[in-house]
Amino acid sequence: MPSLGYCIADNLETFQELFHAQRNCDFIIRELSPYGVRMAVLYIDGMASRTNIEDMVLRPLMRMRPFGSIAPAGRAQALMDMVLPTGTGELETDVMKVANFILDGNCAVLCDGSGEAVLAEMQGFVTRSVDQPLIENVTFGPHEAFNESIRTNLTLLHRTLRTPDLVTEMMEIGSTSKTKVAVVYLSGVANPDTVNEFKRRLSGVKVDKLLSIGQLQQLIEDRPGRLLPQILQTERPDRTASFLMDGMVAVVCDNSPYVLAAPATFLTFLHTPDDHALRWQYGSFIRVVRILGFFLSLLLPAVYNALLLFHQELLPTDLLTSILEGYTLVPLSVTLELVLMDFIFDLINEASLRMPGSMGSTLGIVGGLVLGQAAVSANLISPMLIIIVSVAGLGLFAVPSYPLSLALRIARLVLVIASTVAGFVGIALALCFFIGSSAALESFGTPYFAPLAPHMRHNGDLFLRLPERFQKKRPGMAHPLKTNAAPAPRGWDKKEGK
């Protein structure tokens, strides 16, 4: 790597060539010569804060005293020690490192006679403020979410976990984009094997650009070809902190408001922070409702299809008569109806996502009510099917993880086709296939259905959430180094103090 020279003119020429200064109006070189010593401040307009540069770099340089007996080679050191009042400051000789520092939104100060550049953090680019979560909304928990700035996201984590054991290891991915990625874990809790495996996979990612965390997830997942996601994505700092406390490892990516966390198991995709923020009775109840909603969404359309095509004898006569009356004038088969309505439901969902806020909700109402009612009135579909698809759709929206809900949509379609072929037998075979292939999945060495299969230590937080006072151990899925999490959750209680 080329190093800086002692002549500022040569150094400036190097940087002008590197940043295409002739054509690039964003790259700013502000030259000044206090007491005849030529200096230059380099930064990118819009990335660095011009106000801070003026106040903390230019003004002190213009008002500095002469270098006096300080040798030219020591001028950069002198500037850093005695002139520039920046919070961070270091010296660098490598041209590419200086350039990368400038590209991060900071500034570099060059001084004639010195072969070093003074690096000062001056970031001033605009980012979205910390806002409420878009997808992972809760009733009782915190309402902060990550944003696109990696520094802000790491700050949110540090605020939640005020411990020196919170370690952040930074790396860059993308030969052109040079996207900053941070591996975050709790030293002494996270298993070193998991941390090393994360670092190994991340350092093995060789791409030109890394623009989103979703892209990174697909590049480091165990089995990206499988339907179920194997790494958690979350936009919540409190949830990430909880994962870190359990011994999991998180990956924070610049320009992405989501964080990855692993090892992830199937049940963790169905948990929300509300389960813990509420009392254990309420938390358990809503979790059970959510899990039942998941299975209802997965199975209800296929079971309905199987009942009408193969197993009508299972239905009570009155119910069967009522259903069949609705099919008197409907020209389509049950399966076609189901697939069509499912497709329309997904279409309305996608369209409402693309529309601006108020129009999106209006579209949902129009699409759901008007289209559904019109379709029934036109005898295109039966009334019972609207109920089936609606209930299945509600179950889908109850799933907290968006990737899992997308997997659920696809699995539902496969089950409907299987039920068309062979009724309950088809559904049972399809479920055996799904469960079997999912049981073989792993997430960074942890089986996907742990701690159910294989049986592992857990802290009573699976289907039901046990009271907080019973959750003294960390779950074993992430193989944490420390298993004790809470020695005395209700230590004030005389019964528990014994």
């Binding site: 299972l314 037998v425 049972a428 469960i435 049981a439 259905f449 299969a453 294989p454």
Partner: protein, 356 residues
């Protein structure tokens, strides 16, 4: 991949295989020979199974079956015997599954189409390995067990009759003895699964928990089954598992509920077939270590499909005898005998060394 199997998974897997053997295969032979005292025969078989398992613990406390086979002379032969044993297990379970599907659920569907439907699932089970099969069945095990328990309790409530236990000796001692041996043959190969020690994690030196729990669960179910039917009616019972579901007390709420129980017995059957194929493939791998492991799933899968495809009416007598009478369990003896002889010789050598 983490392919360890722990005691809970192995327990559920063994219980599933036992259930597939006892509840899905026709029970005519037992009941004709033994009458109502089939319960005692099954209990005696369970006791013998436990003793056999203890014997095997002594013989090879820390080694797997295939390791033992490799240590014996003629090591190529024993893995092939093991391969045959488990392929026949898979074939029996597959045949029973196809028969149950074509008899009760999809009578108008050609048998070849039913096999085609089953093929991806059982092929996947063999491909993914025994650990995945064990984990999958363990995952749904509690739900299946609860479903079975509900059916059994309701059935016993409706039709239970303790006089079904009597007369105590059924059709006489010889018939009872014959039935006990026959029942043992159903389960005699199970300790060989247990003896797959390297796969079992945390089982300790004894390692008895999985087969004991599995046997206890299945025995309890079969005893309850014995209470359900009187001697006359039971003689014509085939596919006891399906019969159980039909006898359950749900008929007040639904017209016919047996179709629902496909969710209960099909995973069990698939697990039994999958386990047979997995262990057969591993046995073959022990005989042919140079061959890629997963490709060796194909021979047992093909063999199971070929043997299990035809139903009883259209199969030759030798095949029916092989699959329906559990004679394949006799293949265990050639594996056990050298182990017993070898252990005895080892003890003799140790004794001589001590005296020397």
């Amino acid at each position: 991949m983490n392919d360890s199997i722990r005691t809970p998974e192995m327990t559920v897997l063994l219980a599933s295989i036992l259930t597939a053997q006892w509840f899905s295969s026709t029970g005519n032979g037992f009941l004709d020979a033994c009458g109502n005292a089939v319960i005692w025969a099954i209990l005696a078989a369970g006791l013998l199974l436990t003793l056999l398992s203890l014997l095997l613990v002594r013989l090879a406390p820390k080694r797997g079956l295939l390791t033992v086979c490799q240590e014996r002379k003629g090591f190529f032969l024993f893995p092939l015997i093991s391969f045959a044993l488990f392929s026949l297990l898979a074939a029996t379970a597959l045949r029973d599954t196809l028969s149950m599907l074509s008899t009760f659920l999809l009578p108008h569907t050609p048998r070849w189409f039913l096999l085609l439907m089953l093929l991806p699932v059982i092929g996947l089970a063999g491909w993914l390995g025994i650990a995945s099969v064990a984990r999958s069945i363990k995952l749904v095990g509690p739900a299946l067990l609860a479903l079975y328990a509900v059916v059994l309790v309701l059935s016993v409530w409706n039709q239970g009759d303790v006089y079904n236990f009597f007369p105590l000796l059924g059709n006489g001692v010889p018939a009872l003895g014959k039935t006990a041996l026959s029942a043992l043959s159903v389960t005699a190969w199970l300790p060989m699964l247990w003896i797959d020690k390297p796969q079992l994690e945390g089982t300790g030196r004894a390692g008895m928990r999985a087969p004991l729990y599995a046997t206890a669960i299945s025995l309890a179910g079969y005893i309850a089954y014995g209470l359900l039917f009187s001697g006359g009616g039971a003689a014509t019972t085939t596919f006891p598992l399906h019969r159980l579901s039909a006898a359950g007390g749900f008929s007040h709420s639904f017209q016919r509920t047996h179709a629902l129980f496909v969710f209960a017995w099909l995973p069990v059957q698939v697990a039994a077939v999958g386990a047979g194929i997995c262990y057969a493939a591993r046995s073959l791998h022990a005989a042919l270590p140079a061959a890629p492991g997963r490709i060796l799933v194909i021979p047992p899968l093909a063999l199971a499909c070929a043997l299990g495809f035809r139903d009883i009416e259209h199969s030759p007598m030798w095949l029916n005898t092989l699959l329906q009478t559990n004679l394949q369990s006799l293949l265990v003896l050639p594996l056990l005998l050298p182990m017993i002889v070898g252990k005895a010789a080892e003890r003799r050598r140790e004794k001589e060394a001590r005296h020397a």
